[in-house]
Point group: C2
Chain length 388, copies 2
């Protein structure tokens, strides 16, 4: 049987594959990107479901529109208004099966085979996988501590014809790094000169435990070229797969809707009603504060343990929010080798390789700190330190 070239050239997700083999309950896993269950408002969601069924009955169970529930889109728009003063209307928003699906749809409407996609190095592997299905050419620009390397970004845009630039501006996956205000402005200025769509993926933006929220790079500034992605996965529930894609570019939105029709008709509308009911009847702010406080403590615990147990030859990022840290060993070390030894010590992480579209820095790896107690974090880092 002859399969498509697209699927033959798409890597299986390293993370999804190793998550399946991490069944041993004795393994301390810093590998996944799982939110802490504290972020799931289970009781409140149960009440919201009951309330929504009482109010809207069979509408929760029937087919619905491809674009998504208008009241929920109004809620999302109101939050962008409140947090950033941004003016989005429900028509600027399409609800998706988690923000991962937004990537699939963006690829479908933007990319012909061989078109160029620019991504941070290292970059989110889920984006690499989703867009790989459209067989683009990937270009990468290194990430510095305060955001992408602007000089190299300029050069890359100038020398090529980049159709889509993908970025995670806040607490990036995999590095945990955040763009500074200056870098945001600089990237915006550069991009305004090119016919490149900027996709800002912001699943972690609400999870800031240090410093102040910063304006987006493109959203609110580069209207026609700006696409923003958001998600309820990290603040309400990932299991219900509810994300969204936002753009003021009407034609792009129309095409995203057509792609969504063909891909799955519409997003689970039961979930849309339930989450909107939850958001309107509870203090979302208070709920997020609980998550942020916990993640801040977990991050501090991991950093303290790393300061104590990791050799000085090893460096790591100090995130202001989100879920991840990025570790760099001496040149010549291999995180893949370390992974095998770590599994013997019953501790897991994600080696850096799958986060690169070009030659990887094989001496890097990603740690997640949101899904373990401070005690377990300390024990896991101690084990890891012993083999570093």
């Amino acid at each position: 049987m002859n399969y498509s070239n697209r699927i033959l050239n798409t890597p299986s997700s390293f993370i999804r594959d190793i998550l399946k083999v991490l069944g041993d309950p004795e393994i301390i896993s810093f590998a996944g990107g799982l939110p802490n269950p504290i972020s799931f408002p289970i009781k409140e969601m149960q009440q919201a479901i009951e309330g929504a069924i009482q109010k809207y009955g069979s509408k929760l169970f029937q087919y619905s529109t491809t674009e998504g529930l208008v009241p929920l889109k109004e809620t999302i728009a109101a939050r962008y208004k409140k947090r950033f003063g941004l003016d989005f209307s429900p028509d600027d928003i399409l609800l998706t099966n988690g923000s991962q699906q937004a990537l699939d749809l963006i690829g479908k409407v933007m990319l012909n085979k061989g078109d160029q996609v620019l991504i941070e190095e290292p970059g989110y592997l889920g984006a690499i996988q989703a867009l790989s299905l459209c067989e683009p050419e990937f270009l990468s620009v290194p990430l510095e501590n305060d955001g992408i390397d602007v000089q190299k970004l300029k050069e890359t845009l100038q020398k090529n014809k980049v159709k889509v630039m993908y970025t995670v501006p806040n607490f990036q996956n995999p590095t945990g790094l955040t763009y500074s205000l200056e870098k945001r402005k600089a990237v915006r200025e550069v991009l305004a000169k090119y016919d490149t769509v900027l996709v800002e993926d912001d699943p972690y933006g609400e999870l800031r435990f240090q410093g102040e929220s910063l304006p987006y790079i493109g959203a609110g500034y580069l209207d026609e070229q700006s696409v923003l992605m958001g998600s309820f996965s990290k603040t309400v529930t990932p299991g219900m797969r509810l994300g969204y894609v936002v753009t003021k570019n009407k034609q792009l939105m129309r095409y995203l809707v057509t792609a969504k029709q063909g891909s799955d008709l519409h997003t689970n509308v039961f979930t849309q009603y339930a989450i909107n009911e939850y958001l309107t009847n509870n203090s979302y702010e208070d709920h997020i504060k609980k998550i942020v406080d916990l993640y801040g403590q977990q991050a501090s615990a991991m950093l303290a343990a790393m300061d104590e147990y990791f050799p000085k030859t090893v460096s790591y990022t100090r995130p202001e929010g989100g879920m991840f840290m990025w570790v760099t060993m001496e040149k010549g070390r291999s995180a893949m080798d370390l992974f095998n030894r770590a599994m013997e010590k019953k501790v897991a992480f994600v080696p850096g390789n799958p986060f690169y579209v070009g030659a990887p820095d094989v001496n890097t790896f990603r740690l997640n700190y949101t899904n373990a107690t401070e005690e377990i974090i300390k024990e896991g880092i101690k084990r890891l330190g012993s083999i570093l």
Copy 2:
């Protein structure tokens, strides 16, 4: 901005577009494919949700596997065993966002641009739209009253290199027609000689109100080349978007899973737990019987009204199950013209055009009978008869 060729060549869904404009409550709509709300076991689903949360807690809200919940896949496999004696294991099943997503995934793993897809004429427009995103060449073979024209199928397979054949063997969308046992055998024999994947889409199979269930064309017979699609949309709820794709071809399944990872990580797991809890704690058979009895009555009411109010020059199918009938007017008539006049009479249907990949029979249209009372069906058909 330059969009992808794929999206420029993908039609927006005529049905999804007109559903949005059918807001006027005075319009009698035979246009959509909406199940009757009687098919939504709302109270039982509420109990199932409570039960599932009590048993599995945060697992309903956390990230889950791409492949889908094993207990639900066991339930699905057991039903195929019971209904058809088919031996599927959970590993042969991938859970999707409605069966529409299965089409998207099949396209992704099978089709390069220009690869050939064979579809019934007329055929399901959602399949045409989903696969259009992979830019295939569509070939069509006419549907006869007892299934596809086997002689023309043979010729088409011989003259071409068809990679995927798509069929709806039971109560086809849009015609309501069902393959006879003889046609199933004949198609199976023909396909066995070619390297063509047979995709059998069976969303309506449980909804038979006349005659006996028949074995599948490929499933259970053409193992490596057979893909079967199913759905809970017509028997439990379409709003929750839960379907599945089944194949014993291990490599194909592996690629489908990789495509699903990139497309949206996994299907809503809250829904998977809830629907499995519903299926295991209630008599699904009894529930389906209620739906089937109702649809049988509605179909009879529509046929009786058509016999009374339609001129003899108009012919129509008499389905044994499912949700649709197919009407053919005299040559020279246009269902698009009729649609405009019907809207003045406040009655809606779907003109045949979007169900064709080649030159359409413009004198055809589709009627749905599942979402209106017998009285309203009679009134709508009377209005339609007055302009036929």
